[in-house]
């Protein structure tokens, strides 16, 4: 902690003095340092976003650049929001997001709690557990296609060894009932470590003296868990849910390689639909409108959620 006087002096180092000792003023340096990043983001993120908004009101098709482009007003939005088929990807996305978050939070928090018992070698095993989340979802997701093969796949073989079901009697990726769970399984395998890591930070942030006081008051371990551990770790758990939620709402790579939306469209999450519309059917205007709707949805949900998170934090 620096005394405020130094703070103030640093924040407003007199420009005259700075110029005096041969150099640029602080204000100039601040802008020279920040501007390149802002310019890059404007060029690669904001300009394209505005372009997308513009396209979303047209019938433009990227594979027919010579065709006349017509303004269609809000037709694209209307047809997306009233099309019953759009609910299919939305449902698939919701199934995927809700179940991955639920399973990963419960599993991740439990494992974080177990790691926090500080058994011998917990550091080493934590590092081992963390490896999957750093790997490429595309490259590893692709390999899961092999693990999920009926008969020869390791996953089916493992399930059969545990349950006794013949390994070729079920097809994780080919069956309408199982495919939505196949992508949940791979995502859970990959991202539970992420939840573990954040929950672990939450558990470690709880000072020991609170537990010591509870022990003096003879609170049972069960009661300690519900009145101390869980409430105090809650902001961290919520943060993990936020990050996982945003990431999985955008999910593309792993699902594209594992099922590419199939069988039928049972695992067609929103990004897969978007890719079909934009890069296979080349309905650029329509898919731009879809992209904007998705973006607004993530942004809106994330904002509401962050407000709730801040309320929990300040409690």
């Amino acid at each position: 902690m620096s005394p405020p006087i130094i703070d103030r002096a640093a924040a407003s180092t007199p420009p005259a003095l700075a110029r005096h000792i041969r150099g640029l003023s602080d204000r100039a340096i601040a802008w020279i340092f920040i501007a390149p990043t802002i310019v890059l983001l404007l060029a690669i993120n904001i300009f394209p976003l505005i372009w997308t908004i513009r396209l979303s009101f047209t019938n433009f098709r990227a594979n027919r650049t010579n065709a006349p482009v017509r303004d269609v007003g809000i037709d694209n939005y209307v047809s997306i929001l009233t099309d019953p088929e759009v609910w299919q990807p939305m449902q698939a996305t919701a199934h995927f997001v809700i179940w991955t978050i639920l399973i990963q939070t419960v599993l991740g928090f439990s494992l974080a709690w177990a790691i926090d018992r500080k058994f011998r070698g917990h550091g080493f095993w934590t590092t081992v557990i963390l490896v999957p989340m750093m790997l490429s979802p595309a490259v590893v997701g692709n390999f899961w296609r092999f693990l999920f093969q009926p008969q020869i796949g390791l996953f089916n073989y493992g399930i059969s060894a545990v349950t006794g079901v013949p390994p070729s009697s079920f097809e994780m990726l080919g069956s309408v009932a199982l495919a939505p769970w196949a992508i949940v399984i791979v995502d859970t395998w990959m991202w539970t470590p992420y939840v573990i890591l954040i929950c672990l930070a939450g558990l470690r942030s709880i000072p020991d003296y609170i537990y010591e006081a509870a022990e003096v008051d003879r609170a049972s371990p069960w009661r300690q868990f519900w009145t101390i551990t869980l409430p105090m770790a809650l902001p961290f758990i919520m943060l993990a849910v936020l990050f996982r939620g945003i990431e999985n709402f955008k999910m593309f790579d792993m699902v594209n390689l594992l099922t590419s939306g199939g069988p039928g469209s049972t695992t067609e999450v929103a990004s897969i639909t978007l890719k079909r519309e934009a890069f296979e059917k080349w309905r650029t205007g329509y898919s731009s409108a879809f992209a904007i709707i998705l973006f607004v949805t993530v942004f809106g949900l994330a904002n509401i959620y962050v407000k709730a998170l801040n309320r929990v934090k300040s409690r």
């Binding site: 011998r120 979802p137 595309a138 390999f143 693990l147 470690r204 890719k275």
Partner: protein, 315 residues
Amino acid sequence: MSTSAHSVVEPTGRTKAIAGSLVIAYALITMLPLVWIFLTALKTPPDSISYPPKIVFTPSLEGFCNLFTTRSRQTEDYIKSLPPASGTCEQIARARNMVVAGPSNYVPRFWNSVVIAFGSTFFAVALGTMAAYGFSRFRVPLADDLLFFILSTRMMPPIAVAIPIYLMYRELGLSDTKFGMILLYTAVNVSLAVWLLKGFIDEIPREYEEAAMIDGYTRLQAFRKVVLPQAATGIAATAIFCMIFAWNEYAFAVLLTSGEAQTAPPFIPIIIGEGGQDWPAVAAGTAIFLVPIVVFTVLLRKHLLRGITFGAVRK
């Protein structure tokens, strides 16, 4: 960490044993798919698809040979007429009535991954360090809004961003170029870099720079000779995170590159042999691709938490 041996919060031996065995069991199960990738890479194609899955087998280099070469089928008479096979891969190919026709595309694709990952990391970290210093040390008007804007660029689904980028790159001639991919990944990574590095630079006391400036350094000299060395660890950790993102990225790569600038993630899933996917070759390609990330994860383990939460959780 402050737990002493006598503390009431120290878990009992039995709790530790149960927690430890749960965590170790989870770690072992979660490692199986990765172990299987490495085992499959050393199998012959028939061994890789045998039932039940083979755990004990004679290791073979066929997967690696198939990964690095293309082969063509020949008649037995033709193969007999050839001089004795010169290399290991040639011998393996001839045993399957084939001859090596040339190198495969794996090495160029891998090299593209290296160039694009290093290039985009360099620019993202350079821009990010400057912007982070600007935000950390100067009063920037609307600083919070700008920082939030920088973060929000990460919330868009990659496919939504890819639609206008695809059109823009087609106009500018940047489609399927390494430069275009470096530019795009720099833009995506710079938001992570700014947020992480602002956290690291905030932790360096301003007094260091002030002392240097009193000694006659200009602001820029103080930045270069005082702040940069102090932030070195943070910069290195940030660089590794950016590198991992660029290395693993699939959505943009598969939509915006096809040959010249294609990276390894879109290439590995389409390695096919005769009559279907050549799983040992895919596994070999995957294994080579994953090893650097596993090494980085171990190096980064102390900073992982910070990196994956955009600096929101620091511990």
